[in-house]
Amino acid sequence: MSLFTKTWYEFINRKFYQWIGRRMPEKSGIVKLNLHSTYILPTRYGMLFGFILYGMLMSSINFSNSLGFLLTFLLTGICLTGMLHTFRNLVSVQISTARSPAVFAGETAVFYLRLETIDGRPAYALAAGKDRRGGRKTDVEAGQKQLLELHVPAERRGRLQLGRIRIWSEFPLGLFHVWSWIEPDANLIVYPRSSGTKYSTAFNRSRNGKWTANDIGHDDFAGLRRYHPGDSSRHIDWKAVARGYEILTKQFTDSAGDEIWLDWDHLQHLDPEQRLSQLCRWVLDLHRSNCKYGLKLPDCRIEPSRGEAHKHECLTRLALFEW
């Protein structure tokens, strides 16, 4: 491709997407489709069908065959009506965003959208995705909401915007492809990739001296909880397993007041992203061992605590940290 054609191609492409952008419904939590933002073209089977119809028409003329004409025109009518059906199938849909769970960088983010029809009738075989034919087809029953999953690779930490997606359908005949570009206001948090060394006392350069050199959180038995993958095998209550109970993990708490501070500044030998990954890993480790931990970053400080909410807060801080 010469430079000239390439420039032209890019120019046309840019203009095209600007045009699409102008027509697109506004970015919003609830997206309603309309005639303005919905596009329709025949699929390749639609083209094939058109070709067959053309052949049938020519044969009818050649043989002056009246029933042939009737059949050709009946199929033409079905084709055109099918186009309207395909169109309705998409344009009746209203999309709202649902809460999407956070993921770690490198995983696949799953966005949840809620689909419902606004004309009191069901819509069938709808799909949405980032690319032309992406996504699994799903049906939306009348008066009910259907959850639609969108899989997007989460490459970098931070807030991942769903961005522009393509919602499409070819129902009922598969001869027309109707689609719309929409931008539902959906985002989720991508935690940093968890990596680095396991948290251990050996790596303690704490200057507050508040915590002991013991293995973290192994001093006081606090109870049992259901086994999660990743739990240390040393903590499994094997006696209970032998007795035929489900697999349980022993929980320990460290001595009251033993607080671990995870500090950005202690990791000066690593570059910033690696530091975040390391901190992420520690947060996970400490959460799993039910320690009380706090996080210190240059721009914030989270007091030591425990639990899911605390973990989420710490990881979110790490995800959104800007250095």
């Binding site: 020519m58 050649n62 050709t72 009518g77 009506t81 059906h85 009191g120 049906d139 598969g174």
Partner: protein
Amino acid sequence: MQALPARDAAADAPSRHSLYLLTLSLCLSLSPHIAHIPAWLLLVAGAAIFYMLLSLYRNLARPKTWLLWLLVSICVTGVGMHYGKIFGRDSGVSLLVAMLSLKLLETRRYRDGMVMAGLIYFSVMTHFLYDQTIPLLFFMLLAVTVNTLALITLNETSARIAMRRKIRIAGSLLLNALPVMLLLFVLFPRIPGPIWGLPQDAYTARTGLSDSMSPNDISNVVLSNDPAFRVVFSGSRPRPEQLYWRTLILGNFDGRTWRVDDKPLLAEPEQLETKGQALNYTVTVEPHQRRWLFALDMPANERVLMNGERLLLTSERLLRATKPVINLTQYSVVSYPQYRLGSELNRYQRQRALQIPPNSNPRALELAKSWRAKTRRPEELIAYALDFFHRDFTYTLQPPVLGRHAVDDFLFESKRGFCEHFAGSFVFLMRAAGVPARVVTGYQGGEFNPLADYLLVRQSDAHAWAEVWIDNRGWVRVDPTTAVSPARIELGLEGAIPLSERAGYFYRRDYPLFYNLGLLWDAIDNRWNLWVLGYGPEMQFGFLSKLGMSHPDPYTMTLAMLLGITVLLIVSGQFILKRRTRADDLLQKIYLRLCSRLAKMGYPRAAHEGPLGFAARIEAENAVLGKMLSPTFHLYARLRYGSHNLRQAGSHLLRRKIRSLNRHLEKSETPG
């Protein structure tokens, strides 16, 4: 744009359910071809479909692609050997059946399914090369619906949609498509075909006549009740004995078979003098793949038009089309029942009209010579012959087989036969006696349909008679069959043959119910022929002019067609895109109306109040009113926030309740 992701093979495979439907659709759309394809191919196609069903049911592996290609090439070779060619109607249809049924086994992916569905739609069309009757129209609608159903099933999600709903979608597609079909049928500019020529066997010959006549020819036809042509008379109707539809002249006899003269006379048309009243009529001919056309004795007008083309009138005044009649066609003729045909016979013509092969039928020859010894007047010779037939001959459709001297065998041995035996031997006797004569075949009679006022001539009305040359009178028609069986001419074939030889129940006068149903059916068939099958360029022009289009040229028609389709799509779009009123909205509307009424009465609803809270507050302020309102408010709350299914039905209930409530409120207001 990002590149297409590789699609999951499993997700791409059509569901088993859709394959079942596709198989069903294929069987349905190919079923009428059972009569048209060779038996071995039927076996192959049947086996392929059976294996497909079995493999779906039992989850068996389907044959490999190379095996299918091998089978296809065997089938192609087989069809080529069976028909001696590949390109033709029958061979083409056979190939289509073979390929579709084998392709079915190869339907592995969504793509294959879609292609298959498209081809099935196409295959429906091939039936119309054989037949275009009304039942086929219904067959077409059924086959298209089932195939549309299969297409919808191919495109649904893996979570199957209930069959009932899919049928409703297919039905909606079909119903909305019907007006489009009618509009296009009427307005699509018709071009006279053919564009690229027809396969030689494009339409089956179904005529009752052939250009040769040997013993047993016509009797095969006589049993067919298919219509040959229909006639509408404007003005007076002819009498039954005038209904001779002269079609072919067979002048050449080889001792056994009568044939059309292969060397046509390059002569002027035989002169015609007409007298008496003319008969004006329009003939609608069923396609019969021959050029010959039908006119009553004796067509007079010089210019007869059919599809805008001039018809030919042969030297013997027979009507001929310029091309074989492959479609239903119509033409108007003027005939004179009283006429004189031919002024004089030249030597060559006389010689041909007297030709009999030497050394054939010696006994008949002798009989004729004995007559000629008595008289030389043609009228008397004719009378001798008719008298001879009248004595002890029997009219039957099942004559015995005749030997080498067919005329002798018939005249002196079997004495049983039908029109062609009589006509053939009569002409032979006349020629042997020195009177120029020729055999004429065509149709005789016909039946007036009292329901629609037209004359129907069936294949079973095929007939043969004679024309004898009499100086000063020209060619005179003589029907020797009348001498044996006058009923054949007066009542038609039905009256002439014994009950045991008759065909079918319909068209038989001794079963009045069936007979009348048959007449009704034929009247419908006639309309179908005229309005649908005969709708070609001329009829379109005429019809559109009548509708008020001043210049129905292709451009205007195309414009009108596009406009019409746009209007139709907008109208059906209104139906398809219409919002169904939601039960929730309806309930709320009713509720809010009640609330505003209460507000006027001095009980405004606070914005934060739900129905139950509001009802409780009113009850606290006004116990009587509260008691009255409470059930209604409770019903509303139950409907609005309860199960979804209740809402649609509940809104009626709520409305009724509120109506009676309103009446109570009015009553309670008036005294206060």
